[in-house]
């Protein structure tokens, strides 16, 4: 059977099965879901030699198939989802409505997979919508009382994006007579001379999915409030659908180097830059680790969009590379947050601290991921940042943007450190005394992701290789890459393995030192344990660093926080609702008034009948 069909069928059957089996035996639900995900992922081995699947549905010719670019994203989706499902088994243990969760989760994966393999706009849109509504079901899973606002916000924004796309799609059919993506792109659908709204509408749809700044407000709560095992996929893979789509839209631009698109790409780049910077600033003041990560996710997506919109070989390479890396480390970080939430009961950084001794492996994963996030060698994030900077500096001529990116990636250190410190370092508190290391089924996927992050840091070529092939598909020829080295425009080469080994050595040294130091007999003193200084801790007294962590910075950046996009959108929503409430009063409830409407409408029609009908 064609692996596409079998993956779709397995995922769908798994979804139904998981939904159904929940009422029979709750223990099996997670395993069923994991096994079906595994079966689906096993099909990856057969993917490359698949031929396109063409068939007609509802009078529309649909085409599913792979290409190098699509495969690149399929790998991200399926592997990350597989790890996340393994993680879910323990993470979701004991929660309600497992069937609902796993069913919707599998459908989401199915939707993402479908989006990527679609070679025509109709099935693209169908899967896009499946992905959207099934993820909506997951987002509202936790947010009992927030359904009205948060889940709906996500859905409304997604719908705006999706419907903008749909508008563009039907007009593509009108103007070009085809739904085939490749044909349409060759025909110049996304060029700017003919119908500018088509690329714009598509870009809007993808920008919303990728949480670009004015349309990002659904993202923080959606990321933070869904179950973490889903957020790992949500932020890691699903937001990449926006990136994938932007690649599609901009592909014409890359291929033709259309000068008209300059403004467009500049706007996109600036939006990405602003997103990166602002989201970083917001991330700083979060006290909840999950929200912090959510904002961090948004800012990382900003980088990717910036890289994409430079439109050069290097930039696209950076974007593709960052897409993988972001999936890896942000997936790992959300899993870490989930593990902490599961074990300690909360992710509020003001409440818990010092988990390093309780959850050392989780800390290790968090550390590696944070290093990757901030872009320090030898972990993979460094390579991505390097590519991004180089692309911006050498090829974009947009130094303000470079400054913005530099600023935000520097500020990223701040929140990354806060995350690490808030959860794992600092004083041990009484409340966290009984916390244990996360179960093995949760640790394995996290560790796998951490290892991937390290390996890609030393051998970035593992990702460069498929990325280069993928870029050829969009229209970039002769993409150079090396397995273990980075080169810049000036011809200097940096061998990453040396850096890696050096830094690894430093690490080992520090670790040994710490271990020996730890051998000494020390007593751990809680923050509230101040009796030695002759005082007693009073209720409500703040002795920890956890609170007001970046207070001075917050004060400095206070004017920025005033302008909340969220409030504008909410005001808009409230105003609309108030208007609707007012407007529906035309249904007065008085039958006579309705009769009056009839006669009035009749009179109007009779008065203007000669103008309306001819």
């Amino acid at each position: 059977m064609n692996p596409i069909i079998s993956i779709l069928l397995i995922l769908f059957a798994g979804s139904v099965l998981a939904f159904g089996i929940d009422s029979i035996n709750r223990k099996w639900t997670g395993w069923i879901a994991f096994i079906s995900m595994l079966l689906a992922a096993l099909n990856l081995f057969y993917l490359a030699q698949t031929s396109d699947l063409v068939f007609s549905l509802g009078g529309v010719s649909l085409k599913w198939g792979f290409s190098s670019l699509r495969l690149y994203f399929v790998y991200i989706i399926l592997i990350l989802s597989l790890l996340s499902f393994l993680y879910s088994i323990d993470y979701m243990k004991g929660k309600a409505r497992l069937g609902y969760f796993y069913g919707a989760f599998l459908l989401t994966v199915l939707g993402m997979f479908g989006v990527v393999i679609s070679k025509d706009f109709v099935s693209f849109f169908i899967f896009w919508e499946i992905m959207t509504w099934s993820s909506f079901l997951l987002i509202i899973y936790n947010a009992y009382y927030k359904v009205k606002t948060q889940g709906l916000k996500y859905m409304i924004f997604s719908a705006i994006g999706a419907y903008a796309m749909l508008t563009a799609i039907v007009f593509i059919y009108h103007y070009y007579g085809t739904f085939d993506i490749a044909v349409a792109i060759k025909g110049g659908v996304f060029s700017f001379e003919n119908h500018i709204f088509i690329p714009l509408f598509f870009a809007l749809g993808f920008a919303i999915k990728a949480a670009i700044m004015p349309f990002h407000i659904w993202a923080p709560s959606a990321y933070a409030d869904s179950p973490m095992s889903f957020t790992a996929v949500f932020s890691g893979a699903m937001s990449k659908m926006g990136v994938f789509g932007l690649l599609l839209v901009l592909a014409t631009y890359y291929a033709l180097h259309n000068p008209d698109a300059y403004v467009f790409s500049q706007i996109l780049a600036w939006l990405g830059g602003i997103t990166a910077a602002m989201a970083t600033i917001y991330a700083l003041i979060q006290t909840d680790a999950k929200r912090l990560l959510a904002y961090s996710s948004i800012s990382q997506l900003g980088y990717i969009v910036v890289a994409l919109s430079t439109g050069t070989k290097l930039g696209v390479m950076a974007a593709l590379y960052l897409a993988v890396l972001h999936a890896v480390f942000k997936g790992a970080l959300f899993m870490v947050a989930g593990a902490v939430e599961k074990q300690a009961g909360t992710t509020d950084m003001t409440k818990i601290s010092g988990l390093i001794r309780k959850m050392p492996w989780t800390f290790f994963v968090a550390l590696v991921s944070v290093i990757a996030l901030t872009g320090i060698p030898p972990v993979g994030g460094f390579v991505g940042k390097w590519l991004l900077y180089e692309a911006l500096i050498t090829e974009s001529n947009n130094y303000f943007l470079v400054i913005v990116i530099f600023f935000s990636s520097t500020a990223a250190f701040l929140y990354a450190y806060r995350f690490l410190f808030g959860l794992f370092l600092g004083q041990e508190e009484k409340e966290t005394e009984n916390v244990k290391e996360a179960p093995i089924k949760m640790l394995i996927p996290m560790l796998i992701l951490a290892i991937v992050a390290i390996v890609t840091g030393i051998m970035p070529g593992l990702i460069f290789k498929p990325a280069a092939v993928a870029m050829q598909e969009i229209g970039f020829e002769n993409v150079n890459w090396q397995m273990t080295a980075l080169s810049n425009v000036w011809g200097n080469q940096t061998d990453l393995s040396i850096i890696g080994m050096f830094i690894a050595a430093v690490f080992v040294l520090i670790f040994t030192f710490l271990t020996f130091k730890g051998k000494k007999n020390t007593r751990f003193v809680g923050t509230k344990d101040i009796s030695s200084s002759g005082e007693l801790w009073q209720e409500g007294e703040n002795w920890t660093f956890q609170q007001d962590f970046y207070k001075p910075f917050e004060r400095a950046a206070a004017p920025l926080y005033k302008y909340k996009m969220n409030k504008i959108w909410e005001d808009l929503g409230n105003a609309l609702e108030a208007f609707f409430n007012f407007f529906r009063r035309i249904y007065t409830g008085n039958g006579q008034t309705y009769a009056l409407y009839v006669i009035g409408f009749l009179a109007l029609l009779l008065l203007f009948k000669d103008y309306i009908f001819k």
Binding site: G58, E129, W133, F171, F583, R584
Partner: protein, 493 residues
């Protein structure tokens, strides 16, 4: 001729006249006989549909007078499709309500069943008749049954809704009579085919006045915006199977009558633009009113009106593809909205609360019904892969062919409004805190079968629409091919 379209009307009529007698002999006759009759209608509609697709048209004359002299019943692929759809929906709604009616006491069931059955038969009559005045009579049959059924629960609101419906319905029949009179004086006939043939000779002043009267009269039946004050109340107050029938049968018949008269009888320019504008206004206002509804059935009612608005838009666009989309949407609307009313009725039955608060946490008590409600909600918003998506998609493509970009954007924006309130209610079902109530009225088997059938239909059509598109395509072609219609009917003299 063993099976002919006249059976559609005669079988329910026989049953309706016989039920008072039969129920004296066998107590449950009133509940069983309509089911048999409606099932018979389903069977003959399939037989006839097959025949129609082979022959192109069945022209059944009444009393042996060939058209245009006598009344004729016309089954084209278009009317045959709608009649089949209504028959099937009627049977399913009967199946759904089979046990529901057991809660009614004794002889009241008789009234209910007769009225309900005749409402469906009358709607079929509106659709298959080829005679203008006969259509009026059937519209009155539908009207009278609908007024009575709206007031069937004899509470204060039921009577109120029924009276409003009756008031507007009477105005509608007045204007319909006036329009028929005007048409008759000018063409000297009541046969729709012949009227269509002679319409070009009619002086434009009278023609347009008649058109306006038709628009008002049938606009009331088709729930067009300023004329639809009765609709939300009637949907809200009618017993739930009847609400489902309003959505799945009566509104379809109303739209059919409007479209038949505009498309076949008149050759006036501007009608399409009128339909688009009024359809859009209808849709917009209905969805706006639906957003902040507190009452579940009322919300569904406004949503129904909104769907009808979209159907009118699609008919207004008028290209074959648009009409195809409109018919598809009518089918979807009938199926999905009746499923919503059916499931919603169980929520109300369980919580004893007509307001939306009654939905809170319903998934625990009625997991299967909740899943069906969510499915239907998703389908009616137009999420793929459910059937609602395809109809919307075809309509949009058709609109894009006419370069109506603002119409498309408008439709999609309104869809977002629709999405808001449906997802809110789905959210309520699954995530709101419920008030603890242990008594669960589990859905009865027959209702489950009916609802599952509809849900299955939604999914299957959503995944593989080709099952039905062939029929709809022929139906759309049959509606648009006016000359063929006229020739077939008048040529078979």
């Amino acid at each position: 001729m063993v099976i002919s379209p006249v059976h559609y009307i005669v079988a329910p009529l026989l049953a309706a006249f016989a039920i008072p007698l039969l129920s004296k002999i066998y107590k449950d006759a009133a509940r069983v006989v309509p089911g048999i009759v409606l099932f018979y209608n389903v069977i003959i509609s399939f037989v006839l549909m097959k025949q129609v697709l082979k022959q192109g048209m069945i022209n059944e004359v009444i009393a042996g007078w060939q058209p245009p002299w006598g009344i004729n019943l016309v089954l084209t692929p278009f009317t045959g499709f709608l009649a089949a759809m209504i028959s099937v929906m009627g049977f399913i709604i009967w199946l759904y309500g089979f046990r529901f009616k057991r809660t009614l006491k004794g002889g009241v069931v008789k009234y209910y069943e007769i009225l309900q059955m005749m409402m469906i038969a009358g709607s079929i009559g509106v659709i298959i008749t080829g005679d203008l005045f006969n259509m009026f009579v059937f519209i009155e049959i539908v009207g009278i049954t609908a007024y009575s059924l709206t007031a069937f629960y004899r509470d204060r609101n039921g009577a109120e809704a029924g009276f409003k419906y009756l008031l507007l319905g009477s105005l509608a029949s007045t204007f319909l009579l006036l329009a028929i009179l005007l048409i008759y004086t000018q063409t000297g006939t009541l046969n729709m085919a012949q009227i269509a043939e002679r319409m070009p000779e009619v002086s434009s002043g009278i023609k347009i006045t008649a058109l306006v009267f038709f628009l008002i009269a049938l606009g009331i039946e088709a729930e067009m915006f300023p004329l639809n004050g009765w609709a939300p109340d009637a949907y809200e107050q009618a017993p739930s199977p009847t609400s489902a029938t309003f959505a799945a049968v009566v509104s379809i018949a109303g739209v059919y009558a409007l479209v038949r008269i505009l498309f076949t009888l008149f050759d006036v320019a501007g009608v399409h633009q009128y339909l688009i504008v009024m359809g859009f206004v209808t849709m917009l206002v209905a969805e706006i009113a639906a957003v902040s509804q507190k009452n579940l059935k009322r919300m569904l009612a406004y949503s129904s009106i909104g769907q009808v608005g979209l159907v009118l838009i699609a008919f207004g666009v008028g290209s074959p593809l648009a009409v195809f989309g409109a018919l598809f949407l009518m089918l979807n609307h009938a199926v999905i909205k009746s499923l919503l009313f059916m499931t919603g009725s169980y929520f109300i039955y369980n919580s004893g609360e007509k307001r939306l608060e009654g939905l809170n946490g319903m998934h625990k008590r009625l997991p299967y019904v909740s899943a069906l409600f969510s499915l239907a909600a998703f389908a009616i918003i137009g999420f793929p892969p459910f059937s609602g998506f395809w109809s919307k998609f075809y309509i949009l493509i058709a609109a894009s062919d006419q370069k109506m970009i603002f119409l498309i954007i408008g439709i999609l924006l309104v869809t977002i409004i629709e999405l808001v309130y449906y997802l809110r209610s789905v959210g309520r079902i699954y995530f709101a805190k419920e008030e603890m109530q242990d008594i669960a009225h589990k859905p009865s088997v027959n209702a489950l079968i009916a609802m599952s059938f509809l849900a299955l239909f939604i999914i299957i059509i959503g995944i593989y629409p080709d099952i039905i598109t062939g029929y709809i395509n022929q139906a759309a072609a049959a509606l648009l091919d006016k000359t063929h219609y006229v020739q077939q009917i008048l040529g078979s003299k």
